[in-house]
Amino acid sequence: MTNRYPLWKNLLILTVVLCGFYYAAPNLYAPDPALQIAGASSSQQIDERVLGRAETALTDAGIGFFGEELQNQGKSALLRLNDREQQLRAQAILARELGDGFIVALNLAPTTPDWLVSGAATPMKLGLDLSGGVHFKLEVDVAAAAERKLNQYETGIQKRLREERIRGRISLDGQKVAMQFRSEADREAARREVMDLYPELFLDRVDEGEIWSLYAEVTEQTIKEVVDYAVAQNLTTIRNRVNELGVSEPLVQRQGSNRIVVELPGIQDTAEAKRILGKVANLEFRLVAEANAPISERQRFEYRSADRGGMTEWLERDVIITGESVSNAQAGFDQNGQPNVSISLDGEGGMLMSRATRANIKRRMGVLFIERKYRTRYEQDESGEEVAVRIPYDEKKLLTAPVIQSALGAQFQITGLDSPAESSELALMLRAGALAAPITFVEERTVGPSLGAENIRLGMKSVQVGLALVVVFMILYYRVFGIAAVIALSGNLVLLVGIMSVLGATLTLPGIAGIVLTVGMAVDANVLIFARIREEIRSGSPPQTAITQGFDRAIVTILDANITTLIVAIILYAIGTGPIKGFAVTLSVGIITSMFSSIMGTRALVNIIYGGRRVQSLAIGGIGSKRSSPEGAQV
């Protein structure tokens, strides 16, 4: 009974703690405020020339910077600033200097030294409540997505039946497309065509006297696929738009079936962010109607720009392609120096476009911009209270209606634009892509940078004060064993921070609270062990036996107690959002590290102090030093 750990065990503990130190260390280095320059399109290279322009602009404005470098094989560049206060101003200056082709993002550049970088050690990310920024939760209007799909079916069927010269009445009836024919033969012909066109529709024949009806029903499965697609498409579009906002390390994430969470660290101007994110832009390319076209096949639209206020144009009802087909759009100039916009379409879009334009050269094509807007109406609900009802509607306005000069394919230009400003605006709208379904903001949290900094300061202070109180108490109460426990506790904190950094966890204010709580609860395992040791001594065991028995007996209790707490922490993680998840993560990691440090760590220290020699008494407070005093034993 010598209470010595074999060398390998001591080395193992030492290695774990050293690793903890290594991976926790990057958090000690405060990041530099920085600006990151990237190209607006992924092919754009950032070279020394661009960087040089940026440096000159900053020097002219009297903004101090350092550590400028090219990153990612010239895909982006980084400039570190001397003063965080100047970050926003510097961003505005660079954005103006470099122009549309580049995105200038606020950034916090890590200052992790090389000896840590080489081991892939990185600092913890700060949550929005600590770094400042905006958190949005968006909801995709799935009903609208389903409705839009239904309209597509209706138009598609209409078009096909017209092409096949099958006469009938087609209308929408709930989740069905209703078709009515004058003869059974027509209906059968139509049924074959619809089955060929949309095999996913469920067809049902109903005879109503002289009318032969056919109902094409959209199955639940199809609706689900449509909704899924709409959410996924919106996710992509929002990602693109977020990139346009110029934020480093934004988060865009799907949550549940129809929600999207967007986190933008460092952003303060929420109005601008929301304008870009929430802009439910969709585009439609349609031919301008010929003057003699029947009224049922054309619609009138107003121009969107103010200079052509009130002017209207008749467009065909048939849509050639929508904005979803647009893969890229760039503003530029043609050979004559006139502003234009170059558009690239995806494969299917290019095919449709070429089919539609081939036969219509010299006619004009209108580009419609569709925005979802809301009207608020006040109504009385069942209990007589007034509630606001938001009624969505689509506002469709004409962006431009250029003449088709030749058959268009997947690549074409829109010319005849009034100004470079107009071309860049049009390009932006085309490029920003289309949301497949309208979105609404259901949650929004903005944290100013000063509050974030204050939260860090207060959080750190409570960790320090809490730790100090526990340290004092433990040493006074448990003497030498208390010191061992305190060292293990400090090791536990280091391990906790190290593991959180390796996991890439985000530190939030509740996360800091979790660390504080861990400090308080982590000593519990040691308290259990020490209480057992005291009991053993009280019942007459010699010191070395008491240590062994104390540790061994307490372990089962410690495991049971911690596993149940871990269950609760995991549930917390499963239901929690944002900051709460941060708390759950620290709590879980804290439980695991505290078990390691208080069982293995403390044991190693106690072994080093008392192990392998004859010991008369243990300095464990209470009874250890004065074995004859039973009163002191119970505290």
Binding site: D129, E139, Q268, T270, A271, K274, F441, V442, E443, E444, R445, T446, V447, G448, S450, L451, L458, G459, K461, S462, G466, L469, V470, F473, L509, P510, A513, V516, L517, V519, G520, M521, V523, D524, V527, A531, R534, E535, D552, V556, T557, D560, A561, T564, T565, I567, V568, A569, I571, L572, I575, G576, T577, P579, I580, F583, L587, A633, Q634, V635
Partner: protein, 304 residues
Amino acid sequence: MKAIPFMKWRWIAVALSAAALLVAIASLTIKQLNWGLDFTGGTLVEVAYSDSADLGAIRKVLDEEGYEGAVVVSFGTDKDVLVRLPDGYSDEQGAMMVDKLRGATEMSIELRRIEFVGPQVGEELRDDGGIAMLTALGLVMLYVAFRFQIKFALGAVIALAHDVIFTLGFFSLTGLEFDLTVLAALLAVVGYSLNDTIVVSDRIRENLRKIRRASPGEVIDISLTETLGRTLVTSLTTLLVLAALALFGGEMIFGFAVALLVGVAVGTYSSMYVAATTLLQLGVSKEDVMVPEREGADQEGLMP
């Protein structure tokens, strides 16, 4: 060591607990909880004025601008102002209101935070929170029933429910805001209180097996006495750090710290009295903890 006769006084504890729970439930029914923005939905704006803010003037401005139902309070210091709008304002109103406040004063105003929660989200969070709480209690009961025995599981869960209802009652009575962080704290209380209860139950089980000539009541008394030191020390260290958090952590974490302070304090009491009394009333005996031979061998391996 002489055992403290805890169980002799258990009816006093039962009476106290019953009274406290009655008050808590009554308050939760009548006064209900002061639900935070996370659960009610609405808009919350925190701004910092460069100097002492005149709440009356701010109220007047908001009144004139037509912000009906706006609640204006100072937050922490007299420079910090918190404005809460009820549900029904659009997501853009928060930022617009800050602009209006800026226009109405000579002082500079710094935006600290804006929070907007739609009504649907609030309702969902409330439902999810309730489900989480019940899931936690259910799973914990299963684990304890599996590791110990069903009577211990019932004791643990009744103790946990006791702590949760007590803490909720405390929040209802004091009118402290109940937000998402408080809900998280409440789940942490479940975890903590459970920790305590397990340690006590573990000792009761051990002593039931070990001490042959004693009634279950006496065994429980001995177990509670033996674990009393540990229970008090752990609670004390936890309460120390929580007090630090409540005092220095700032306004955003205050509710969280208070919920844990109350929960840990009452959790310490309940692990001794509520869980143990339930065990005793359920008629716990040696037979309940006698394990089949093979499993007993495993136990021995773990606890030499």
